[in-house]
Amino acid sequence: MVDQLTIAKRQTLQLASIMARRGASAACIGARLGLALPTRPGWVQSSALDVLGTGPGSWLALAEGAGPDWSDRLSVQLAGLASVSDQSGGTVVFRFAGPGARALLQSGVTLDLHPDNFGPGAAATTAIAHIGVVLWRTAEKAGFEVALFRSYKASFRHWIETSAAAQGLAFQAPEW
């Protein structure tokens, strides 16, 4: 049987917030990174990193397995255009996959996650069960990723367990 829902914590992900310096446009910061930065809630991808739009002039960059000093390199790369601040230690990212992913998340998110409305490239800064999250649809269509502050992990887990049980969703979550 195919699992309805698998939840995995992304273990080797590095994250950093990018904040535009005064007068630096998304276009010129993006040019330095080799991708067109989103100017709305959404995400883009290059071979090196993913970037989520989290607010005017602010983004969250993600890089898989880039090592602990990645944000320093990013900071140098964006010198004069943007301030970079590492968030790898304080943010956890969970990947939700399988047909049950949308059903589960929709019970917590007050935004419409239907693919017509929240399709590939969509992202949102919102809340689940009073916990602030950044949520985006992954490149695999049925999948989502959710970033939240590490301190809320236990409460978030409780929300997942009770909500999945309420919907009768069996799920696999190998590592929290």
């Binding site: 535009a20 601040s85 590492d86 968030q87 909500s163």
Partner: protein, 985 residues
């Protein structure tokens, strides 16, 4: 048993046992509790609110005012359930309410004898004096006598879930109009949500013998529902109540998931709360039949004609053996057909209209007596035994019957439509209220729009479905209106039957009679809103669904106005009662709000730490060891070990903000009372920020790690507020500054390592780092690595000891806590919690939350000299106000007891020796107090008038809350190491 031999939408192969007031009965799958009671010949189901009159089942729907029961027992008991809406299940337990000692013999029925004085306004008039008796005596007594059902004080054992729905079209009601609308929109590919309170689709079609396209109506409905269920763009929500409409096209709903079984399966919810955002919605909620107002109209056995049809047609349950039908509308005659078809004796049809409708012929052909232009004036018997009739020409008749069916006309069920303030208007054509101004995006259709005929309902549904599709740019295939039965809908309402001898009820649930409304009018409560509040009509759990319009008719008559001119009331959500548990969902008990755990939480729990709330954070309070006789022993040990050896403490909850950009230093100078532009790279400085009004907002340290990069800390509780304050300053006040700010509170797990051996312990953690005074002097800071992961090292001290703070990525915090614990073993190190932290900061006289209470200035806290005179900063101007610079303001001092064993308690007020303990003599108060294991006695911090000038003076700490006054000596707040030698060690 009064069950027809065949027919009905019940499953006769599944028999369910249930109890009512402890007596065993049985019914079938598909029954409601009400239909099962009807089939078991149970007429008496409850007692009324005020007079405790015996009551039966009046309706077959959600509007039911009488048949309220308590379901279940113990913690799961739920009061005030409408028996008409309770699906029967095997093992159901129901009990009647509002009666003592039993339903058939209720002592408070004696209230009926006092009914001449228990009229509307009785309580207001009678229990006015003496006013102090109200709260203590009258109200509790009245509440015990009245009340409707009783809540269980036990915690709710059920679970509740939450969901969010989004659609192009929300269809409220799954009757003919709603199904037609959902089908049209669904076939066009729109995202549709269809909700109905019933478990079956069809609405009135389930209760009537209508034909659609040659099929029985209920068969048509189930065919449509099957098609809808197969459409991926359609969500069907049976047994779902849409209970409110809110701004932004938001609809609130409750889905009953497990109310048709004794208990939900383990882990599964009983109900689910839905928040639905709908671009468009149709209100296809149907209509509610009005009762008629005559003497004894509340007796068990009186039932609306549509309810009678429902019990007979849908449930094959027969409410009685001999029926009199009293009607003012064509629909009443249709009920007569239903009874004839089922072979139930109809004694007579009493039609209030003098001209009989064409429908009467069929009844006459069946040999049934018809009384035109006649009215029922009274019901005789405790439950219906016979009815008194006044004929067209004033003659009197008495006809024996055990059921009286009443058909008073129909009210569109439009409560939801008024939720956003649109007031319904009177329609002379249907003799009821219709929506005038609907909430945005919502349109009523079918009976809810006053279009009662089946063909109109279907046509409305088809039209609305394609209109919504068109509005969204989708073309819906035009569906043909199916051929359907022709039903007549004419009526001529009567609001009150004159000449009744018995009590005539308007609001059954709140026991409001026609006389109460007349009294309200006589006493000047002529507005419907005032009449409602004076009589409490419509204010019971049914919100007057069967009573409101009749009451309007009576009030209009009593005040000599037309009903169209008296206006009507608005309904608020919820339109029907909703369990409060479903609104809370999973957010109850310890999960009421989320918790935040620091990185060392798990480790601390393993060490036996107890935790304390700091906002959402759980912080380790102290680490009790087996054998500690109380928490103070634990705390004393933690303090003493730290002051004499070494201790470490998780301080990760402090707010942390990274400030970057060329103008970061300029912004900091404006945020803080002291300067940061002069701070050297690699150095930290303590800072205080004020609110605009000049009072202290927060404090913390700021470290400069690069020319354009600073690291700020805030207090735990003010972390979000300070972040907001900084964003406001840089985005709104000074957008010209090139400065960026981001919270990094969660990024860093921070530990304070304090005590004479702090350097030795930390050296074990950072073996390659030079931690000497020369390399890392007091107030220095360094960026470094710990085991390959970025770390920050600060030479800061809150305890007053030689201390460092080490921060690592929070993902590594658990490892660092374990490493500190492991390495600390060699030094006898202790972890310490917030209690020891608090004791040590009081010993050092550092202000914290109790002193930074929003009412203190920098000088009050002894920090006045930090206020720069060379620059401007937020709060500077207002801090110069005379009231804030008054030297007599209470300012920070230390207190020690004169008799060393005495305990100083926070909250005690300060008086001069021998001064009388009155507010005018108040000199200040104790803000923080602790037992100092270092000094061996209690100490306190206080805000005292002229405090800094009064060191050495003896004062009195007056503590009327907890007892004795004690004598204390004013001293410096720096109890330990006042010169600050140790921090530089």
């Amino acid at each position: 048993m009064s069950r027809l031999a065949q027919g009905g939408l019940i499953d006769r192969t599944r028999r369910y046992a249930f109890t009512f007031d402890g007596k065993a009965f049985s019914g079938f799958a598909g029954d409601t509790l009400a239909s099962a009671l009807v089939a078991n010949d149970i007429k008496l189901v409850g007692r009324s609110f005020k007079y405790h009159r015996p009551r039966g089942i009046l309706t077959a729907g959600p509007e039911e005012p009488n048949a309220l029961v308590t379901l279940g027992a113990g913690a799961a008991a739920e009061p005030n359930c409408r028996a008409t809406m309770v699906p029967l299940f095997d093992g159901l337990q129901a009990s009647s309410q509002n009666r003592w000692p039993s339903l058939s013999c209720d002592i408070l029925a004696i209230n009926q004898l006092f009914s001449p004085i228990l009229v509307a306004g009785f309580y207001y008039k009678t229990f006015m004096w003496p006013s102090r008796f109200w709260e203590k005596l009258y109200e509790p007594l009245i509440r015990r006598a009245a009340g409707l059902g009783a809540l269980t004080p036990a915690p709710d054992p059920d679970r509740y879930d939450r969901a969010h729905g989004f659609c192009d079209l929300l269809v409220i009601g799954g009757g003919p109009a709603g199904l037609a609308a959902a089908l049209t929109a669904g076939r066009a590919g729109l995202r549709v949500i269809l909700a109905d309170m019933d478990r079956l689709w069809g609405g009135r079609l389930l209760a009537e013998h209508q034909l659609i396209g040659g099929q029985e109506g209920h068969q048509w409905a189930s065919t449509v529902a099957e098609e809808l269920a197969a459409l991926p763009n359609v969500t069907l929500l049976p047994r779902t109540l849409i209970f409110g409409i809110y701004d932004g096209r938001e609809y609130a709903a409750v889905q009953h998931l497990a109310d048709d079984q004794a208990a939900a399966p383990a882990g599964r919810p009983r109900q689910r709360f839905w928040k639905i955002i709908a671009r468009h919605a149709v209100l296809a909620s149907g209509a509610i039949e009005r009762p008629l107002v005559f003497g004894g109209n509340d007796r068990p056995g009186v039932m609306t004609a549509s309810a009678l049809s429902t019990y007979v047609n849908r449930f094959a349950a027969v409410p009685g053996k001999r029926v009199v039908l009293f009607t003012t509308s064509d629909s009443g005659w249709t009920s007569a057909f239903d009874l004839i078809a089922a072979g139930i004796e109809v004694a007579a049809v009493v039609e209030a209209r003098p001209d009989l409708p064409a429908l009467a012929d069929r009844v006459r052909r069946a040999g049934i007596e018809i009384l035109a232009g006649a009215v029922v004036t009274d019901v005789r018997g405790r439950s219906v035994g016979s009815v008194e009739i006044v004929t067209q020409h004033g003659g009197r008749r008495r006809i024996a019957a055990d059921v009286l069916a009443v058909a008073g006309g129909w009210n569109p069920n439009i409560g939801l439509g008024g939720n956003l303030g649109g007031r319904p208007v009177w329609s002379d054509s249907i003799h009821s209220y219709v929506l005038d101004e609907s909430p945005p995006g919502l349109q009523p259709i079918g009976a809810a729009a006053g279009r009662f005929a089946l063909s109109d309902a279907l046509a409305d549904g088809l039209r609305a479905g394609s209109e919504v599709a068109a509005a969204l740019g989708v073309t819906a295939a035009a569906a043909d209106l199916p051929a359907c039965s022709d039903d007549a809908v004419a009526l001529a309402p009567i609001w009150q039957v004159r000449g009744a001898k018995g009590k005539a009820f308007v609001d059954f649930q709140h026991d409001v009679t026609d006389e109460d409304i007349a009294l309200a009018a006589r006493e000047g409560f002529r507005s419907v809103e005032l009449m409602k509040r004076y009589t409490t009509l419509g204010m019971a759990t049914d919100q007057g669904k069967t009573s409101q319009v009749n009451a309007h008719g009576l009030l209009a008559a009593a005040t000599g106005r037309k009903i169209a001119d008296i206006g009507t009331i608005l309904s608020r959500p919820p339109v029907l009662p909703v369990a409060i548990g479903v609104l809370a969902g999973a957010h109850r008990d310890q999960h009421f709000r989320p918790e935040r755990h620091t990185a060392s939480h798990q480790w601390a729990a393993e060490q036996g730490a107890s935790f304390v709330d700091a906002g959402l954070w759980k912080r380790a309070q102290c680490y009790a060891r087996p054998g500690d006789k109380d928490w103070r022993e634990t705390v004393n040990r933690e303090v003493t070990t730290t002051r004499t050896g070494v201790g470490f403490c998780d301080i990760s909850t402090l707010g942390k903000i990274e400030l970057q950009g060329p103008d970061a230093a300029i912004l900091l100078d404006r945020l803080y009372i002291n300067s940061f532009s002069t701070l050297a790279v690699g150095r930290a400085r303590y800072g205080v920020m004020l609110r605009e009004d000049g009072f202290v907002m927060d404090d913390g340290t700021t470290t400069r790690f690069a020319e354009d990069r600073f690291f700020l800390t805030t207090t735990t509780v003010n972390a979000a507020k300070v972040m907001q304050h900084i964003d406001y300053a840089r985005q709104v006040l000074w957008p010209e500054l090139d400065v960026q700010a981001v919270s990094v509170t969660e990024q860093w797990a921070s530990f304070s390592v304090a005590g004479p051996r702090a350097r030795d312990l930390l050296q074990q953690i950072l073996p390659d780092k030079d931690l000497s005074n020369d390399a890392v002097p007091f107030m220095a800071a360094r960026e470094c690595h710990w085991q390959g992961v970025p770390a920050k090292l600060f030479r800061l001290s809150f305890s007053g000891e030689l201390a460092f703070e080490i921060s690592v990525w929070a993902s590594q915090g658990d490892r660092l806590a374990r490493a500190l614990s492991e390495a600390g073993r060699a030094f006898g190190a202790t972890p310490y919690g917030t209690e020891a932290l608090g004791v040590m900061r009081i010993e050092k006289g550092h202000p914290a939350g109790n002193e930074l209470n929003g009412q203190t200035t920098a000088p009050d806290l002894g920090l006045g000299r930090m206020m720069s005179k060379k620059k401007d900063f937020i709060g500077r101007v207002m801090a110069m106000r005379p009231g804030l610079t008054d030297p007599a303001r209470p300012a920070l001092v230390g207190l020690r007891p004169v008799a060393s064993g005495e305990r100083i308690r926070a909250g005690g007020h300060l008086l001069e020796k021998h001064a009388k303990a009155i507010a005018a003599n108040d000199q200040g108060h104790v803000t923080s107090a602790a037992f100092s294991p270092t000094l061996g006695h209690w100490i306190g911090l206080a805000l005292l008038r002229h405090g800094p000038e009064r060191h050495g003076e003896q004062i009195v700490i007056h503590d009327p809350l907890r007892g004795a006054d004690i004598a204390a000596q004013v001293c410096s707040p720096r109890f330990v190491d006042p010169e600050g030698v140790r921090v530089r060690g």
